[in-house]
């Protein structure tokens, strides 16, 4: 087994997860121009939903996953309706603070309900793994990559061909215009939150299968995925996927050069550097570049 190949493989696996989560940030940002800070906590809740289904209700993992995705979608929609919608027109600060408060709230709820013990959805012992291009990859990890790729294809087709998907893209392009041509904006926003949250739950479950579940998992994963969204160009769907894999790779190759304790800090560093030097991201347009900097002058 080669170290380089292994690091790249680890980067791709982590990147797949980040990509799934980044999609949620980017879709919501695309339409509402707002960072859904509580997105990472929806992921965490999704993982716990699945954990509960498997361990207390005895469901098979695939059914638990579907239930968790459905519940998280519902949670996302409720969050949007209760906490964000009333603040849609009250500046940028109020929804951001609400979102931060929500994420703290969900984290604390999880801590009370499920405790601070580290849980996992891993079943049986860690399988030995297959050697692919010199890297050892377990079946679970292959599952992560396969699921992510599958979901991304479905999402792509949905956005491209489904009526609702087209409406979502229209709303992303120009929300007021979309409203005037008869797109039900509230419905589209609801669907966006539902899809984003379901994807987050999927990511949460995959993390639970591969690693651990704990109440604080949403923060770090959320920030990394947000970084991925920014790296790819926030608001841009393909960018989120690209950014996800980019962050995963940078982080996993980065620990080759710096102490592993700083692994989580790498993503933050990438985020800060991106925000400062190219807030529009890799695939962002000039228009989006203005958004990160001082308010566009006379718009």
């Amino acid at each position: 087994m080669s170290v380089t190949a292994q690091l790249i493989a680890n980067g791709i696996i982590a990147g797949a997860i980040y990509a799934l989560v980044a999609l949620g940030y980017t879709m919501v940002y695309g339409i509402l121009k707002f960072i859904n800070f509580a997105h990472g906590e929806v992921l965490m809740m999704g993982a716990y939903f699945a954990y509960t289904c498997v361990n207390y209700l005895g469901m098979p993992i695939w059914l638990a996953l579907l239930v968790a995705m459905a519940l998280s979608a519902l949670l996302g929609v409720i969050i949007e309706r209760v906490a964000y919608k009333p603040l849609r027109y009250s500046g940028r600060l109020a929804p951001l603070i609400t979102a931060i408060a929500l994420s703290i709230f969900l984290q604390s709820m999880a801590l009370i309900i499920w405790g601070s013990e580290i849980r996992t959805l891993r079943q049986g012992s860690v399988s030995k793994g297959n050697e692919i291009f010199g890297a050892v990859i377990t079946n679970n990890q292959l599952l992560i990559i396969a699921t992510t790729v599958g979901v991304l294809i479905i999402l792509h087709l949905f956005l491209k061909y489904a009526k609702l998907g087209k409406a979502m893209r229209a709303a992303t392009d120009n929300l007021p215009l979309a409203a005037t041509i008869g797109i039900e904006v509230d419905k589209v926003i609801g669907i966006t939150f539902a899809i984003g949250s379901a994807l987050a739950a999927l990511a949460g479950v995959l993390v639970g299968i591969e690693q651990n579940i704990e109440p604080t998992m949403g923060i770090t994963l959320g920030i990394k995925a947000f970084t991925a969204a920014v790296v790819g160009g926030i608001g841009n769907i393909q960018g989120a996927v690209l950014g996800g894999f980019a962050v995963g790779l940078i982080e996993n190759i980065g620990i080759w050069f710096i102490p592993s304790g700083y692994k989580d800090a790498i993503a933050f560093l990438v985020l800060v550097i991106m925000l400062i030097f190219r807030p529009s991201g890799i695939l962002g347009t000039k228009k989006e570049e203005e958004m990160g900097k001082t308010e566009s002058l006379f718009g």
Binding site: I35, F105, L269, M291, T294
Partner: protein, 315 residues
Amino acid sequence: MAYLEHLLVLASIYIILSASLNIIIGFTGMLNLGHAAFFGIGAYISALLAKVIGLSWIASVIFGIIGAALAGVLIGIPCLRLRGDYLAIATLGFGEIIRAVMKNWTSVTRGPLGIPGIPKPELLGYRFASVNEFLLLSVVIMIISVWLIHRIIHSPFGRVLRSIREDEIASLSLGKDIIKYKLLALAIGAGFAGLAGSLYAHYITFIDPTTFTFTETVLMVSMVVLGGMGSLTGSIIGAIILTLLPEPIRFVQLPTNVVAASRQIIYSVALILLMLFRPTGILGENPNRKNKILYFFKHLAWKIGLRTNKPEQLI
């Protein structure tokens, strides 16, 4: 009574923290989500200088303030081009990077083990060892800090800060060097947070990275928002309320981690309700303070049904 005194020491520290954060968020309009990092830098520098180098308390505190203020400027230089929520995320990122350093630079900070045995403050041969002695010290420092912040805010300098919050472009068009002012606002806010951190370190006598998390920043933001952005009195009220509010939970028989979580739930729910129903906080920026406090409680009473008629809205 020692317990109440302990709470009052904490309240003093949090008053300095929320007032200093209000300079940055409420008066200058920069959403800083890394305030706990400045708090931590002050605490670490002061603790290390006093304990390892053996510097006097006052010298350690001064270096703690300077260190935090410098960190504020260093973080500010690259981040100030960013606006609103991007600035928020970038400062959050910086906060976490600084915490990663606290956790991993073990040769200096001892990492997760923390720094125990930080000496109690000593001034002119007098040692502030007991809680009530420390209470006196922290209240005096808090009052001086608030007075200084008040002086800074209510001056032509403070007026420029507010103009930046209101409209950066208009402020530029009037010839204000907004980058300089923003950096100064960050340095002042961070410096006072550093002072609070140093007070905290010498009071608790033990610090570790878990004290300076993002949750701590959220607590400070909640205090500012609850009191009202751009209101110094509001910050003081917000800090006192949120320091004392979760305390009754302590007397209910619950496991410790549930207590901590319940506290977070109280903060977060308070914050969400505040944003939904009164985003300006208890006191927005308004000279008419007394009436505003009165109106807040009247309005609250009306909202929860203790009052039948809606109180008259103040302009």
